[in-house]
């Protein structure tokens, strides 16, 4: 129930296809394989998967094109697979419909966790309370507590934190954060985001330079991690 029943994997590497098919089968997930972008689009329509894994570096057409094509008529969650050093492409994908990303070579556990999270987020949550590790946030009362102590945040910092929590577990690009917190017409540079994230970290993290809550995804953005234990 927390996992999709069918996943469409669009990737030209047959070895990965085989591996993932075997691995996913242990979780009762059936895999539909497409070795090219065109085939992927076909199968996206035909098999109507609950989840899509899309490799950005496809041979026949740009993975981004596939992304935009599918996104034009579907809201199926998509995680993009990319090589390292393709941060620009990842950011673009994230801002144009991808829900998250994973870099190759990837860790299966991490991939699974991301799939779970993304799949869960399909249903919007309207929780009034959030906690992760030392952090406790009550949206109704607009209080934030760290290790039981209440701390004060500026409104921007609060908005930022709220955004992170709302998308906990999911990566957010600098632009997405900017737009969400500073408005769609924000002209400030991503620099602002970094500074405010820094401020936030100083307030809510135990060791600000070794953050456990708001993690930097180098070159892409930030991700709020959910810790279930204190």
């Amino acid at each position: 129930m927390a996992l999709p029943k069918t996943i469409l994997i669009i990737d030209d590497e047959s070895q990965i296809q085989r591996l993932l098919t075997s691995s996913f089968s242990a979780f009762d997930i059936s895999v539909v394989s497409a070795l090219s972008g065109a085939r992927g689009i076909e199968l996206a329509i035909a098999s109507r998967p609950e989840f899509i894994l899309l490799d950005i570096g496809l041979p026949d057409m740009s993975g981004l094109n596939v992304l935009s094509e599918i996104r034009s008529w579907s809201k199926t969650p998509i995680i993009v697979l990319s090589a390292r050093d393709e941060e620009d492409t990842i950011v673009f994908a994230l801002e144009n419909g991808a829900d998250d990303y994973v870099t190759k070579p990837f860790n299966f556990r991490e991939l699974l966790a991301r799939i779970k999270l993304t799949f869960l987020r399909q249903t919007p949550e309207a929780n009034s309370v959030f906690s992760s590790g030392h952090l406790e946030v009550n949206f109704t009362s607009r209080t934030v507590k760290v290790k039981g102590q209440e701390i004060s945040l500026t409104s921007t910092e609060y908005d930022l934190l709220k955004l992170f929590i709302r998308h906990a577990g999911k990566v957010l690009t600098h632009q997405q954060l900017l737009k969400a917190v500073w408005g769609p017409n924000a002209i400030e540079s991503p620099q602002y985001v970094r500074v405010y994230v820094g401020h936030l970290r100083h307030k809510i993290e135990e060791t600000p330079h070794r953050p456990k809550l708001i993690i930097t995804e180098t070159g892409v953005g930030y991700r709020m991690k959910i810790h279930l234990e204190k």
């Binding site: 941060e87 860790n107 820094g198 060791t207 330079h209 070794r210």
Partner: protein, 887 residues
């Protein structure tokens, strides 16, 4: 009589070293006198060729107004001549370029001995012909025997007519065929009388002068003897083809001194004949004296004779010894002379020659009698002071002036000194004066001083009379002593000057040689040479290099001056470059040019042209040969330089190949290790016994992950290094919190090296943001830390401290391990440097990448050993001022 085929073939073999298969053949129609029918015969031969389909053209034919000759011209294509204007008149000369352009098989050129009008490419027509032959075109030409060098002297003596146009015998050697147009003297006179040779007006005078029967007979004999000699030579040359291909000259070596007079000329010509007869090498020796502004007649005569000797085939040696005999002795020894030719001017053999005879008993001395030909007595060699040529009014005047002042001083002195003292003072004056005077001045001044002394000082004073006999003796002694010391001083001084000049010249060459070999870089070499040359000889020197694109053409610039040569001069330079021979002023090619041009040739490769512009002074042939030496030497050095450059390139290539091979070896090794771990682990998972134990499976799987991460890290390193080196790295710079970056590195370390303890010290709480590419900087710091983790003992600490330092952020990473190599800690940044050739852990390029990244950020990494032990890395990154301060 035509020389037979065989002999001709042999001649072909034996002709000068430049003889190649592509050379044209020279056929000379030789006659004893004008009007025997040489041109006619040549034209007849040409006609036959033409009828046989050979491409024959007329280059230049002098008909002298003779009808028969004119008629023979019909039917043969005549090429245009070159018009050269000289002193207001237009002259028609041979157009070599046209001929070469037309490239006929055979070209007819009359009068081989002709001298070209100034402004022509070559001074003499035979040089033009040699040029044409070099282009592979055959030439037919005509020649009178009187124009041949070795015969000219004799003929001049016989006929009494001065022969002005001559050509060297070597040209005859270059010919492949000589056709003798022989005519009985009687018949020649007949032809002359009937007007077939010269126009009516000239017949009578000719009959009385040149065309006397006795002359004609003698001339005929000369020609026949000349050709007979040549046959002898050719028969000897037969040995070359069939026998041992050794030096075809016999072991006789003849030496003749070059004298300045006409006697000297005779000596040379005779020696030449002797050499030809003995089939020997011959050498001519002459003394190189001091430089003078105006060259005396003697000097001119010497030079002329030296050139003559050269033309006749001698090897000219110039010596600088102050004594002629010493010089001759040295040459005899060095060149193993077997025969010495000397002039005999009087009955008694001169002491010099006698000395030589004693010194070299094995050398044959040939005494050539001068009187036989009515020559005047030889003049004394000028290096024993030639009285007349060392006269200087200026010098004499100065001496008298000083003498006058001295005398006035002495007579006015109160009390007037004793006459002996006055004498001493005069003696002193004369000694000093000799240092600055010519011999004639010394003699005259001595006499005058003696008289003055007598008159003014020796009692009775103011008379020339002398009382005591002792005083007479004293006066005599005075004069003798002054003369002897004075003349001796002069002689020593002049020798000194020769030695100095010699030293200077040698010193110059030595200096040049030494310095040139130390300087590298072709432009520096050239620059140094030009500078030295210009300074030493007071000229303007320059080097012209070939055009970069069209290597056969010269680039008109002069290296060093940046001036362009005028076109006319450039032509000369171009000629020199193309032909590999010197030309210009003071040489015998294109001597109307302003400058002297010497090819920079070494091993037949032309590197350019050395150009020397005199500033009004004259140069002796010795100095010209210095320039040639310099040019040759320069070419040598350039050649060496180019060789070194090529070798350097090869070395660089080898070095880079070495790096690549090391890289490949390293990479393949590094990849194999984790790969074998992975495949080993994976295969063990197939074992049922293992597969059914989940904790084992987990453990083994982790190994697989670690292995693949290692491989991934390595490959990433390689890609990074490649990108950095190829300059393709695009920095994505933005403002970042360096602390955050370090934090990520620490997480990485925690993950992969969990046992290691790393401490972070921040000096100020709030550090400014830095404008960096955070991914790359993270990588750079990660590599340094990884290095620390790998090369230091597990239980030791690693500390990172971060603080602001002027305009930089300073990041210090310190460990407690063995530290870096003391002598050269920076060696750790070298590619593939690994401590003690450790086989594990990385390819050795991690730190190289770190440094490259930091440098891309305009930062620096300093390394060293911490005073308390361990290695210390200081990374400094500049802070770019922004409007936002972090915190």
């Amino acid at each position: 009589m035509a020389i037979n085929e065989k002999a001709r073939r042999i001649l072909d073999h034996v002709t000068s070293s430049e003889n190649s298969l592509a050379r044209g053949r020279l056929k000379i129609f030789l006659g004893m006198v004008a009007g025997v029918g040489k041109t006619y015969a040549m034209l007849a031969a040409a006609k036959i060729l033409k009828d046989n389909g050979v491409n024959v053209v007329v280059g230049l034919i002098e008909t002298h107004g003779r009808q028969e000759t004119q008629q023979m011209l019909e039917g043969l294509p005549i090429l245009q001549k070159k018009e050269i204007s000289y002193k207001g008149k237009i002259f028609q000369e041979l157009d070599i370029d046209n001929i070469i352009f037309r490239h006929p098989e055979v070209v007819l050129i009359d009068e081989l001995a002709h001298t070209n009008v100034p402004g022509s490419l070559h001074e003499k027509r035979y040089q033009d012909v040699l040029n044409i032959l070099g282009q592979g075109i055959d030439v037919y030409t005509t020649l009178n025997v009187q124009h041949i060098e070795s015969c000219a002297g004799v003929i001049q003596n016989i006929t009494g007519v001065v022969i002005s146009e001559t050509l060297p015998d070597t040209v005859l050697d270059a010919s492949s065929e000589i056709v003798l147009i022989d005519l009985d003297p009687e018949q020649v006179i007949e032809r002359l009388k009937s007007g077939k040779i010269y126009p009516k007006e000239k017949i009578q005078s000719s009959l009385e002068n040149f065309f006397k029967k006795s002359n004609l007979v003698a001339l005929r004999e000369t020609v026949l003897r000349l050709l007979a000699d040549r046959v002898n030579v050719e028969l000897r040359d037969l040995k070359v083809v069939h026998g041992i291909p050794q030096i075809w000259k016999t072991s006789f070596r003849i030496l003749v001194p070059i004298l300045s007079s006409s006697d000297g000329e005779y000596l040379i010509r005779m020696t030449r004949r002797m050499a030809a007869g003995l089939n020997a090498r011959w050498f001519a020796i002459y003394i190189e004296g001091q430089q003078r502004e105006i060259i005396s007649d003697d000097e001119k005569g010497l030079r002329k004779n030296a050139m003559l000797a050269k033309q006749l085939g001698a090897e000219v040696i110039s010596i600088h010894d102050s004594s002629f005999n010493d010089g001759i002795a040295r040459v005899i020894r060095e060149h193993q002379i077997t025969h010495l030719v000397v002039a005999r001017k009087q009955k008694k053999i001169s002491k010099q020659v006698a000395d030589l005879a004693i010194l070299f008993p094995e050398v044959d001395i040939v005494f050539l009698s001068m009187e036989k030909n009515g020559h005047t007595r030889l003049k004394k060699r000028r290096f024993e002071f030639n009285f007349r040529s060392m006269w200087s009014w200026k010098n004499l005047g100065m001496s008298f002036l000083v003498l006058g002042i001295l005398t006035i001083f002495l007579t006015r002195l109160l009390p007037v000194p004793e006459y002996q003292i006055a004498g001493m003072i005069y003696l002193l004056f004369l000694s000093v004066n000799a240092l600055f005077s010519t011999p004639s001045t010394v003699i005259i001044t001595t006499i005058i001083t003696g008289l003055l002394w007598n008159f003014l000082f020796i009692p009775p004073r103011y008379t020339f009379h002398i009382y005591s006999n002792a005083d007479w003796l004293t006066l005599a002694g005075f004069v003798i002593v002054s003369l002897v010391t004075g003349l001796q001083t002069v002689r020593i001084k002049s020798k000194e000057r020769i030695v100095d000049a010699n030293d200077e010249r040698l010193g110059f060459m030595h200096f040049l040689t030494k310095n040139l070999f130390e300087v590298s870089g072709i432009s520096k070499i050239i620059g140094l040479t030009i500078e030295r040359l210009s300074k030493k000889f007071n000229v303007e020197a320059g080097v012209i290099l070939p055009d970069r694109n069209r290597r056969e053409h010269l680039d008109g610039r002069i290296l060093g001056e940046g001036i362009r040569l005028p076109d006319k001069e450039l032509h000369v330079a171009q000629w020199v470059f193309s032909n590999g021979r010197s030309a210009g002023h003071f040489t015998d090619t294109l001597s109307s040019a302003e400058g002297m041009y010497f090819p920079l040739n070494y091993k037949n490769v032309g590197y350019g042209v050395l150009c020397v512009m005199p500033k009004g002074q004259l140069f002796s042939s010795n100095q010209v040969s210095i320039f040639e030496d310099v040019a040759h030497h320069l070419a040598l050095v350039i050649d060496k330089e180019m060789l070194e450059e090529r070798s350097r390139n090869v070395q660089i290539q080898q070095a880079s190949e070495k790096i690549y091979s090391t890289l490949f070896n390293s990479v393949s090794h590094e990849l194999k290790t984790p790969l074998s771990a992975i495949s080993g682990a994976a295969s063990s998972l197939l074992e049922d016994e293992i597969a059914k134990r989940p904790e084992l499976v987990k453990k083994i799987s982790r190994e697989i992950i670690i292995g693949s991460q290692k491989m991934h890290g390595l490959i990433q390193n390689l890609l990074d290094m490649n990108r950095i080196e190829s300059g393709k790295v695009v920095l994505k710079k933005d403002f970042h919190d360096i602390v955050e970056v370090i934090g990520r590195v620490l997480s990485y370390v925690e993950q992969y090296y969990p046992e290691r303890k790393v401490e972070l010290f921040l000096s100020e709480e709030k550090l400014p943001f830095v404008f960096i590419d955070d991914g790359l900087i993270e990588q750079a710091i990660k590599n340094i830390l990884q290095n620390a983790c790998l090369y230091t003992p597990i239980d030791t600490n690693i500390t990172i401290s971060l603080n602001k330092f002027n305009n930089y952020l300073k990041l210090s990473i310190r460990d407690h391990g063995p530290g870096l190599p003391v002598n050269n800690p920076y060696i750790v940044f070298d590619k593939f440097y690994r401590k003690d050739n450790m086989v594990t852990a990385g390819t050795g390029i991690g730190l190289t990448i770190s440094r490259a990244i930091i440098e891309l950020h305009n930062g620096i990494i300093e390394v060293g050993n911490h005073p308390e032990g361990g290695a210390l890395f200081n990374v400094k990154i500049p802070i770019v001022q922004t409007t936002m301060e972090g915190g």
